[in-house]
């Protein structure tokens, strides 16, 4: 029993935790973009993939992994700004904005997806683990890179929370999320806040991409695969809720990790979707409220 805990359950939960943190980074971007702009960003998964591939390219051209981790989110910023300015903004004021932005970002995701496949080929690429090895605590082996991912991710999540809830920039974002006209009439540069937030969400997705690259490797369909979980997390946590994205992200990935010990891993996704369906049936707004809505 103890052996099972030590060698099977604990490592599996730790894996799930590292994965969960990365999913939360992705879900945060998704939920903030939805909470503020009311846009369901279907290309978020491809932003994640682009981040991972950008990392691969940087590493292949001799850039140090840690530098790449810092560079990728920065490189993603212009991708986000351009997507927001050139595409989302064009249909933002139309009456059927929801449908249009959804289709627009879905189309964009297809272009990115095929683009990545054309440039990099269909086969997975896997960057070397930047910190191999690990330490043993109470008989449980803690892989160093996963621990690093957990700490860095947690720090970023905490920073995002602090920016949104404790700074005047965050107050601007929350105000604009609730009432764009009133915020604008008080001098908040709403359109710049939109671009910046979209870019910030994009950068978080890219960061998740490069951070997960050494663990899950990099392949063209990765965006599709991870976005489904990220969307589930956002729906369960509450569309537009930061707290919800964090809690649901960590919880659902644990459910997935533990369930895959008991049943075949292919059945873990249906369990997540089952939870999502239950939440949608009994609490359609998700576990927590939307950004800026009290």
């Amino acid at each position: 029993m103890l052996d099972y805990m030590q060698f099977v359950l604990a490592p599996q939960m730790l894996n799930g935790f590292a994965f969960g943190i990365a999913i939360v980074l992705m879900a945060l971007g998704l939920t903030i973009i939805f909470g503020l702009l009311d846009v369901i960003n279907m290309s978020h998964g491809e932003f994640f993939a682009i981040g991972a591939y950008a990392g691969v390219v940087l590493l292949a051209s001799g850039v140090n992994f840690w530098v790449a981790v810092a560079l990728v989110p920065l490189l993603m910023l212009p991708v986000g700004v351009l997507t927001e300015r050139l595409l989302v903004r064009q249909v933002f004021d139309s009456a059927d904005r929801h449908t249009l932005t959804l289709l627009l970002t879905l189309g964009l995701s297809m272009i990115f997806y095929d683009g990545l496949k054309m440039v990099f080929g269909p086969n997975p690429l896997r960057p070397d683990n930047p910190i191999p090895g690990g330490i043993e605590v109470a008989g449980v082996f803690l892989p160093a890179y996963r621990m690093f991912l957990i700490f860095l991710g947690a720090a970023i999540i905490a920073a995002v929370w602090a920016i949104i809830y404790k700074t005047s920039l965050g107050a601007m974002i929350r105000a604009a999320a609730f009432d764009r006209n009133m915020a604008s009439s008080l001098g908040v540069p709403v359109s710049a806040v939109y671009s910046a937030t979209f870019a910030f969400g994009t950068a978080l997705a890219g960061l998740a991409g490069i951070l997960l690259a050494p663990i899950f490797s990099v392949f063209p369909t990765m965006g599709h695969e991870f976005i489904v979980i990220a969307f589930t997390v956002v729906i369960v946590g509450g569309m537009g809720s930061i707290k919800g994205a964090v809690l649901a992200g960590l919880l659902l990935t644990q459910v997935q990790a533990i369930a895959s010990l008991i049943i075949s891993p292919v059945w873990t996704d249906p369990i997540l979707f089952g939870i999502m369906v239950l939440v949608l049936m009994f609490r359609p707004q998700g576990l927590f409220g939307r950004l800026g809505h009290g």
């Binding site: 107050a171 601007m172 105000a175 999320a177 006209n181 009133m182 001098g187 800026g292 809505h293 009290g294």
Partner: protein, 235 residues
């Protein structure tokens, strides 16, 4: 200061503003009166840049502001206290108030702190409740917050839409006292108010609106003009 010429606006197929003409001079308080649904709020929103489908001209100190973004209009010195107060729910009283600081660019931290302090002096209840969520305030307190939030900026023209709607008489008195004070400090005010009798105490000029047009304009201190106004807007 503010000059509106032949302003038209549409919501879909309904032609809400049908050629509004309105002038406001510095330091002047103009009352805009009319029955429900005649377009008073729409006029205010058009000035504040909330409504984009407008034609005609709105100039502020000679500059055309029709079609500008609301934040650009705000930066020119126009403050807006809208009809339904529009307190941000996820923000505390203080966060709501501090957001108002953004109306005026280029002030030092000390100047901004002084502006906040002035607002709190004017509305001591807000100071007592500064950490509370804005929407947990009572209706009257939310109205005070909406006014205070605009006052922390250095705005010259205030658009105030139905500030006493649904409030207790004592709060109504307080709000009118504040507006009188603002006027004496030199703010120009465009006021929409259902409580016409009270509003007449502070208005220099009065306008009656009917179906998207100003149908009557007069001197707020002339009894004949007041009578004409009451007749024009009588139900």
């Amino acid at each position: 200061m503010l000059e509106i010429r032949d302003l038209h606006s549409h919501y879909g197929f309904s032609h809400v503003l049908q050629g509004v003409n309105l002038t406001l001079r510095p330091g002047e308080c103009v009352g805009l009166f009319g029955r429900n649904g005649v377009g008073k709020t729409t006029t205010m929103r058009a000035i504040a840049g909330w409504i984009k489908q407008i034609s005609g001209s709105i100039t502020y100190n000679g500059q055309e502001i029709g079609g500008l973004a609301s934040n650009a209009i705000c930066r020119l010195g126009i403050g807006f206290v809208p009809e339904d107060r529009r307190i941000f729910p996820g923000l505390t009283v203080e966060e709501n108030l501090k957001l108002g600081l953004m109306q005026t660019a280029g002030r030092s931290g000390a100047q901004e702190a002084a502006a906040l302090e002035r607002a709190y002096d004017l509305f001591p209840r807000l100071k007592q409740r500064y950490r509370q969520m804005g929407t947990t305030l009572s209706g009257g307190e939310q109205q005070m917050l909406a006014i205070a939030r605009v006052l922390v900026g250095d705005q010259k023209l205030l658009l105030i839409d139905e500030p006493t709607e649904g409030l207790a008489p004592q709060i109504v008195d307080e709000i009118f006292a504040i507006m009188r004070k603002l006027k004496s400090e030199g703010h120009a005010i465009l006021l929409v108010e259902q409580n016409v009798k009270r509003a007449l105490d502070i208005t220099d000029r009065i306008c009656a609106m009917e179906r998207g047009r100003i149908i009557l304009e007069g001197d707020g201190n002339s009894q004949a003009d007041r009578d004409a106004l009451m007749k024009a807007i009588a139900v």
